[in-house]
Symmetry: C2
Subunit: 345 residues, 2 copies
């Protein structure tokens, strides 16, 4: 099997997480899957870009500073020029999420898939906004479009639903899909923090952005629900179909009240079939301790699948983090390779 | 793709659970995986056996009574004769577990795999006792040996570890692998039951056998650990390598004591690498609420994988039940089919 030639767009914590794993896991990926590769191009808004058909030294890429200072190769390529390089087989991408327009991530996805490149990204916006279009471009061009990292980061959530639960019908999928709001609500409950203080702490810890709207207004969870509805349930919903409520309205008083009743307020995201019609919802819910989501702490994420085959299955794990999200892309690389080689291992 | 010809040995709740699913899921298995099949032979200690190369009507098989009373075909075949039928491609098997000798299940496994038949079973004993031998017979004969149902029943635990977490190193795998003891310890804690009363209730509910040793002495969990160590961690341990302690020694007093400290006694099964050496252990542990296993209730099972790639991933779900265990065999059928057709979907 020929070496795959990989390109990475975006060298933030997620992109770097992937490159570190590609460096660490070379031997096991070759021995277990016959998967060999070179990273031939990397591109970053801050650090510039570099392309070397012989393959880049990842250790060097992972040290700070402008890429062209320490690596030889073609420099100053734009992300689109990197995608267009004829000897790039797989484009990895980790760019900021823009849920209004899809941003540059959507343009990257279209460009790569249309050019017949496998495309693997952790950016939620493109599949949330343009699922149908992107899946159909990928199908036409017979390439793999991977976005395992958009849901529960490196925790294999899409994998569990699609590969682990074949032929199952899902009555519902419920989850804690946003770690930031889960962290905030828990601080309010356990430390008696006011909403604004919990938000400030989440920002201080780097969980929430300086504009926290994506988390606390529910956009982030909404995008994830749309992706799961399309991909797992084959229901072609869009963000407008989600009944979305943020946690801005939740007061310390509400949280205390719930606690008195032995309950807990969580921001729950759900896809539930009601008489055959799918209802998608994000919003604060008062849940009790019999609910598996009651016990999801800190920035952990979880999903509960209610099936017609094996009752209720819960998966729980990290919902963010550079290494975990980078790993989600490594998972997709292996998955893509299984398709490509028709090897199932 | 040709129709697969299936045989089922053992028509208890698990075997019946599988046959019901094979009947229900025909259309989706064909449309999603191109997988078509006939069940040509069934065999049961109580209900006799029947073989019809044209395929058996599953609805009729699933009604009670001697099989030959209502179905035409060759009757009175032994389970070994069913395995030997030249037109059987896949043998499903759900016979009682005998952890001392491997019982008839081990003989079935050897016979089927040696004859070049795919073999799928929920019986823990054969892989726990003879993992290396059976894997090597399967490899030599290029057939699939499936036992997803031996761990967490239909909850896709082996699938998650092997397919969902590729190229990961596991620092540890810990879990609640036995529902009966989890149920008993919880009754002691929440209802103040004495050990013997909790056991009697578990027997009344059909969770524990009349000889409850397999559950309460730890044999059941021990077998599961051995399977996971071999299959997931590639560590060739045997049951003798497991430090096994049952829950007979746990008193109501101990449980109350733990509760006072905000803790809970659970029968925890673990595989932990300690300076590169694997330690396998089953036994009661006092755990606190930060441990995901603290929140595993009733007869639910759970596994916590500590990885070097995406931190800690937990999966939770049914650990028993006819439909769930039957579904585990359906999962293996799909998995086998992916290997066979080199289709990855």
């Amino acid at each position: 099997m020929e070496k795959l030639r990989l390109a990475m767009i975006g060298l933030g914590v997620v992109g770097s997480g992937l490159l570190r794993l590609l460096d660490e896991k070379r031997a096991v990926l070759e021995s277990d899957y016959g998967l060999t590769y070179d990273v031939v191009a990397v591109c970053d808004k801050m650090r510039g870009s570099i392309y070397d058909p012989e393959g880049l030294d990842l250790e060097t890429v992972l040290t700070e500073g402008p890429l062209s200072d320490k690596l030889k190769g073609t420099r100053d390529l734009t992300s689109f020029e990197v995608i267009d390089l004829p000897d790039v087989d797989v484009v990895f991408e980790a760019t900021p999420t823009n849920l209004k327009t899809g941003g540059v991530g959507l343009e990257h996805a279209r460009r790569a898939l249309s050019a017949g490149k496998h495309f693997i990204s952790t950016n939620k916006a493109p599949p949330a906004i343009a699922y149908k279009e992107l899946e159909s471009i990928a199908r036409e061009n017979e390439v793999y479009y991977g976005y395992e990292g958009t849901i529960l980061s490196g925790t294999p959530a899409i994998s569990l639903a699609l590969n682990g639960l074949p032929a199952s019908r899902f009555f519902s999928i419920r989850g804690i899909l946003n770690g930031t709001t889960n962290f905030m609500l828990e601080r309010m409950e356990t430390e008696g923090m006011e909403f604004d203080d919990a938000l400030a702490l989440a920002q201080e810890k780097g969980y929430a952005e300086s504009d926290p709207s994506s988390d606390i207004d529910g956009w982030d969870a909404c995008a994830k629900l749309v992706i799961m509805a399309n991909n797992i349930l084959k229901e072609p919903i869009t963000p407008e179909d989600v009944d979305m409520q943020g946690i801005r309205g939740v007061t310390l008083e509400d949280v205390k009240e719930a606690r008195k009743e032995g309950k807990r307020i969580k921001s729950v995201s759900s896809l539930v079939f009601d008489n055959g019609r799918l209802k998608a919802r994000v919003g604060p819910e008062k849940i009790d301790r019999t609910d598996p989501l009651y016990h999801v702490h800190d920035v952990t994420n979880a999903l509960v699948f209610e099936t017609d085959t094996t009752d209720t299955v819960t998966v729980m794990g990290p919902g963010a983090g550079g290494r975990s999200a980078g790993y989600a892309m490594l998972y997709d690389l292996v998955e893509m390779h299984r398709h490509r080689t028709r090897l199932y291992k």
